[in-house]
Amino acid sequence: MHLVATVLTAVPAPPGLFPAREQMALSLGWHIILSCFGVAFPAMIFVMHRRGLRRNDPVAIELAKRWSKVSAVLFAIGAVSGTVLSFEMGVLWPGLMGRFGGVLGLPFAFEGLSFFVEAIFLGIYLYGWGRMKPSVHVLMLLPMAVAGVIGTFCVLAVNAWMNWPTGFRIVNGQVTDVNPWRAMFNDRVWLQFAHMWVGAFMVVGFSVAGVYAVGLLRGRRDAHHRLGFVVPFVFATVAALVQPVIGHVLGFGMDTHQPAKLASFELAETTTHGPSPIRIGGVVIDGKVYGSIDIPRIGSLVAENSFSNPVPGMDTVPLADRPNDGEINTSHWAFQIMVGLGSALALGVATFWLARWRRRDLLRHRWFLRACAFAGPAAVIALEAGWTATEVGRQPWTVYGVLKTVDAASTHSGLWWLFGVTVVVYTAMTVGAVTVIRSMTRRWRDGETDLPSPYGPALGGGDQR
């Protein structure tokens, strides 16, 4: 499908284009999940830890301690996968960084700053157990939580700028009149930031709650599991209920600014006369839509906030600037998967609290716990789908309307090798992380703590001092 894009744009694509896109998709898609934990987990640990201190609740303290260890593993691999991205910006996209580095770089610099704060306070927090005054120790989480907010804003500022570039002019092919602050605080950043930030709380909230839901399913119905479930679930609830609203508002204005993306989302090949239907499922082949379920008028409602305005179709976009069929289908399906899963999650949490209000505890029902176990993966898939939708939907542009992806990509021909190595390394890293976290939890269940030191079987006796 990417070959078709090459033909359409009629520019000889650099050999690095396709592998660079795949590489970026893999490494970014992987990193996003971990960055969610960096953003949302400290807040949850803070609530848990503070509860433990305030109520003198050893269960809560124990949970906070365990979560902090899990977050240490996740943060470590999140830090390295984030570093991978920093290198990739130059290795894969020299055409973007060489020309626009001075425009888009400032938010990255602030991101670096917040990442610094996060790393420092994580170090203090992790090593502060039993070594700092408890009331001070718990506060070390707050800078991490704040840094998570700022970091999210900064990264989303760059992405929002790529979607709606501003803060510079191009005169005779040269980038001039650069205003990096304007580029950073562009019109779209606030909503995109909100969408991602709330999404991070959905991912982490549902994932962590899901772990304890599995424990409850297996009959471990103690205070530890109930509390471990409820705190992240409350975070997930708020996030899941707010998210559809933000997502809807985020769509405003896309019809005039990024008509191709909207047309892809809605699978609108041709502009309708009068209100547009919403198309569920379906594929585009050679400009024709097959197999979709059309519900009249709802497309206009969703995209235009109106019952009568038509959604502008792909036919309003110049031929050379259109994504190819594969890209349209990808972003359409990804968009629908995101909306579908997001709605299901919102419905699920609403059901739980409604039932609770009616004095029914759904945690007693196995079907609900099973659903909760799947909610974490579902939130992750929704997040990945959202990113796929917005990134693929932007094609063929890297910087919308200014820089095409073919011109941003590296011309190196060996990037497939890099991609192959990356697949191997990331697979190994995933296996490693899962193995370590699983054996960690198994040990906790058996009432053991961590290995006293790496390699250190003989050190336990205290005879070494």
Partner: protein, 343 residues
């Protein structure tokens, strides 16, 4: 003092900080690798784990800082270096990924077997990053990164300056780490371990010193602009570095570990700053001057604001963290071997 110069100086501070803090981290891999079998090496590996555990994430961020300031402040040269030096950059990156992940995995590993596997990956990958970043520095310093990028993928870093750059980086990191670990071992009441470390650090120091002297010969030919700068306006620093390096060896010999840390850092700082001054005014030697490489002025001002904020926000926090790791309360728990067993 132009904007470009100030931002470049801020960038260079990041390079130096990464080399010193991150370097000491990376060098610990050498001692971890040579610690011996699981039982015999446990004491040293525990020391490595305790001394870098709280700080390695923070130390790692210096690299991100460098990359970000580079691509924001001097975007064209960043693209040029990344396209030309793609191979060593990616190999350095591989080291970062394998090392960072396996260090964390080892710490929380479930079984000794797992810990051993992750430990080997951690130790071996600790060599990759300093070597290849040293090679990158050598490539830039010997004028092998063309202004338009896409220089030769192989000869740009397979050359005397780069190879020696890599070797010196590896040796320097190990030397720094050894000096710090020896002092840590002594301070935390492991005199036997301190003796072992002292011996190895002395060997590493002498070896690295020898490499530095040998390197001077091919460098004269291979990187004339740099060597000219080094022998001209950088000469004082090279002398300081040599004296401080020799003093470190002597202090280690005399078991003056705490003072040895100061001279070791001085030696490394001097050689790094000497390199920076020797290369001045070039950003990419023989290709682009600092004054001609800067991004838009508004962006440069923005970057300086970020740097100032970092000085206000990050620096105190970082100092606090470093002080904590050196404080009695923390090292006391280290000694009792109950780290993470407080539950």
């Amino acid at each position: 003092m132009t904007l470009d110069f100030l931002v470049c100086a801020a960038l260079f501070v990041g390079v130096v900080a990464y080399a010193v803090f991150g370097g000491a981290d990376f060098g610990s891999g050498f001692f971890d690798l040579t610690a011996g079998g699981a039982r015999r090496g446990a004491e040293l590996r525990t020391l490595v784990d305790h001394s870098i555990g709280p700080v390695w994430e923070a130390n790692h961020v210096w690299l991100i800082y460098v990359l970000v300031i580079w691509w924001t402040g001097f975007p064209a040269t960043f693209a040029a270096a990344m396209t030309t030096l793609i191979v060593p950059m990616l190999l350095a990156l591989l080291g970062i990924v394998l090392r960072g992940a396996s260090f964390a995995f080892r710490k929380y590993a479930g079984t000794l077997r797992q810990a051993r596997l992750f430990g080997i990956i951690f130790a071996l990958s600790s060599f990759l990053t300093p070597f290849f970043l040293g090679a990158v520095a050598g490539a830039v310093a010997s004028g092998r990164v063309p202004v338009d990028g896409y220089g030769d993928v192989w000869t740009s870093w397979l050359n005397p300056t780069s190879i020696f750059g890599g070797l010196i980086a590896v040796g320097t990191c190990a030397f720094l780490a050894g000096t710090f670990l020896t002092a840590d071992a002594e301070r935390s009441g492991h005199p036997g371990l301190a003796d072992v470390l002292r011996q190895r650090t002395l060997l590493v120091g002498l070896g690295t010193g020898a490499i530095v002297f040998i390197a001077l010969v091919p460098l004269l030919d291979d990187a004339p602009t740099l060597t000219h700068g080094l022998l001209d306006h950088g000469a004082v620093l090279i002398v300081i570095s040599a004296v401080a390096g020799a003093a470190t060896i002597w202090l280690l010999w005399r078991r003056r570990y705490v003072t040895a840390r100061v001279t070791a850092v001085t030696a490394v700082l001097a050689v790094l700053v000497g390199w920076g001054i020797g290369q001045y005014p070039w950003l990419l030697v023989d290709q682009v001057r600092i004054a001609d490489a800067g991004g838009p002025p508004a962006t440069m001002v923005g970057l300086l604001i970020v740097v100032a904020l970092a000085g206000v926000i990050v620096l105190p926090a970082l100092i606090y963290l470093l002080r904590l790791t050196q404080s009695e309360a923390w090292s006391h728990a280290d000694k009792s071997g109950t780290v993470d067993r407080t539950s």
